[in-house]
Symmetry: C2
Subunit: 409 residues, 2 copies
């Protein structure tokens, strides 16, 4: 008799975004004339950069000719031309020495942050911020690394680290021991960033406790403050304790194209139960070559084009457009008397709901009165209660209209 993975059955009903979709559709059906504006799901709205489009056309043409056709990406870890561009532009340009052999190209940071837990034993204690991107938690539930559901959105055996206005949404390392630590800076959903000093404490904690940091830097392109690190490897010693995740989704509008990469330093090791050190770089490579077959050649050419002089300029232009949205959202909401966080080094604005309204309550208010869709903060964890997340990825005209509508409620 085939038995089911019962860990899946521990997942709490309704992944956040389907629930938002349901409420959105119900409202739209009841009010067919309302024009909803989405500031909820973190999807981009601006087209791909012209340099990327041109590169993709060229790659498509290559695939139509026998002599330039590309089949399997040998090994499934990414073409050298892309990994070299990443190494040079994302790391060496910032004084960080990350080698091509430490870079693994994939179809998304969601896939990578979801799959990375497979390299570790089921006995590891996981620490996550609260609120948190749900994928980190859910994938550990599915693997059986947690107990049953505790409070809404939380599970037994996971260590939740509240990220609140009091700590500037950057939790300190815990007093006790944990083994795997998910950190996301610039943060989804709060828009907070961590300073060098704050990250240094985490790297030290990991070193002392032989813990590993899983560092999600998918939003690093949105950092405007020159003192904020873009990579955890800007912290000394991080190559001994951290894996980093990057994505072209939010950097270059690749949500519908699918390209990302993970950095697994060659020095990074975890232990067997009897204390033997095991290198994680070949383990991740083995996972990819067994369970994955690489990213489309066309997509990898497109990603590489974001590093050309033209591509960089165009990609930067779109990021500035989104960050101008963020600025307008912050300023307008502040003027209306709302308390807002984030939106300076991140494309997310974390809005405190007024007068103690609950997240879903305020979500429903914004939906029904302003026809604006947001993301309820509590959907990211209990400490997100009393907040909603707004994204800056909208079209500027829609952002302006959304704020004009919010003004009237």
């Amino acid at each position: 008799m085939a038995t089911v993975n019962e860990n899946y059955l521990r997942l709490q009903a309704g992944y956040l975004f389907p629930e938002i979709g349901k409420r959105k559709r119900a409202f739209q059906q009841a009010h067919p004339d309302a024009r909803l504006i989405s500031m909820g799901i973190g999807d981009v709205t601006q087209p791909l950069a012209p340099a990327v489009i041109a590169a993709m056309h060229k790659a498509v043409d290559e695939m139509g000719v026998k002599e330039t056709f590309h089949g399997y990406d040998d090994g499934g870890v990414g073409y050298t031309f892309l990994r070299e561009a990443i190494s040079k532009n994302d790391f060496k340009a910032r004084g960080v020495d990350i080698d091509v052999g430490e870079i693994f190209v994939s179809d998304g940071a969601k896939s990578d942050t979801a799959n990375i837990q497979e390299l570790f034993g089921l006995d590891n204690i996981i620490a996550v911020a609260d609120p948190v991107y749900p994928v980190y938690v859910d994938t550990n539930v599915m693997a059986g690394r947690t107990g049953p559901a505790a409070r809404q959105g939380t599970y037994q055996k996971i260590v939740y680290m509240p990220a609140t206005a009091d700590n500037g949404f950057v939790p300190e390392p815990p007093a006790g021991k944990v083994d795997l630590i998910y950190l996301c800076f610039p943060n989804n959903p709060t828009g907070a960033v961590a300073t060098k000093e704050q990250l240094k404490k985490w790297v030290e904690y990991a070193g002392e406790n032989k813990a590993i940091i899983l560092f999600d830097a998918a939003y690093e392109a949105y950092i405007s403050d020159g003192k904020i690190p873009h990579s955890i490897y800007e912290i000394e010693g991080a190559k001994d304790v951290a894996i980093e995740f990057r994505s072209f989704s939010k950097t270059a509008g690749f949500t519908g194209v699918r390209c990302a990469f993970a950095v697994v330093p060659k020095r990074l090791r975890a232990n067997t139960k009897d204390g033997k050190a095991v290198e994680l770089n070949p383990l991740w490579s083995r996972r990819l070559c067994t369970k994955f077959n690489g990213v489309s050649y066309i997509t990898q050419v497109a990603a590489a084009a974001t590093y050309s002089a033209e591509g960089k300029k165009q990609v930067r232009g779109t990021i500035e457009l989104y960050m101008n949205n963020a600025k307008i959202i912050r300023q307008s909401l502040t003027k209306l008397g709302y308390k807002v966080y984030g939106g300076v080094n991140a494309p997310y604005i974390w809005l405190k709901t007024p007068e103690g309204a609950g997240s879903w309550e305020f979500f429903d208010l914004l939906l029904s009165k302003a026809n604006v869709v947001t993301t309820p903060g509590v959907g990211f964890g209990p400490a997100g209660e009393g907040y909603v997340r707004l994204t800056a990825f909208g079209d500027p005209a829609n952002v302006t209209e959304a704020l004009a509508r919010i003004k009237t409620i």
Copy 2:
């Protein structure tokens, strides 16, 4: 202390294809003037169909314009336009009623056949053919569903079903009970196909034992015999016991583009340990929406183009080119006195090594004397010893030359 997933350490050294790559590179370095011809790794050589190229150019242009830009593929299970084309052309056209909601688009049959085991408990007993596509076994090792390595390429707790010349490379259902059965027809590596009667026995076995069949039909487009089923769902009752995997890789040359799909029937259930039936369709959907973010819009448009009248004709033309290669390989080798199997309803030829030579021995001989790269049969399991696999995916000129060289050894 972060601990490693020790199941990974049970994997036997060297995934097959990297090992082949290593020997190939070593030979090439020692003989820089030798022009190697690959008949080893199952990668295609012919360019994408013109209809696919045209569709991709159009999709790339859409991504460059705000009004037609596509971000996330909502839910990550595939666009309806592609799933409808699949339902109609791959199933309804063969009298099989598979609904759009039962089709899940992915980036490859390797990913799907690797990931599907996650839906099942660790206590399930796995059955595979021997020889077998290594991914089925390795992913179960990594999950901890096996014991340690036994003989080369095998693991304790897995039930291996020898596929030999004696049973026409189609094993019978086992006498004892197993829970998850991987079947691959047309078969990689032997090129064997299963008749309706043979598949019927498997469906009956699964029904009687509440087992689930994981049916890899990635090569169905190569079936030339009108009586051989293309889908397991052509067998009555299969929707209650089977998941099917399909791919555009070998059908339409998408090895470097990445698109495939899995079919998880709504009627299909597995049980909790205490006997409660759980539907697998929503579980697979939950996996995808948590760990995956869909396939590139451009790639899905490309896949849909293979179902246009033009696309179908062009794709068929390439398959016929490969199958003509297969015919030439079969005929030439037979004429040279070799014993060969497969290559009639599959792009693989399973060649018995002469005079009791071992697989790797004959691999090395073909590499050094004919400069032809093959795949050692033993790499697919102990029952593959004494065979090498040849693929028909080469360019016709290379195939002809390879055979001329083999003639001289």
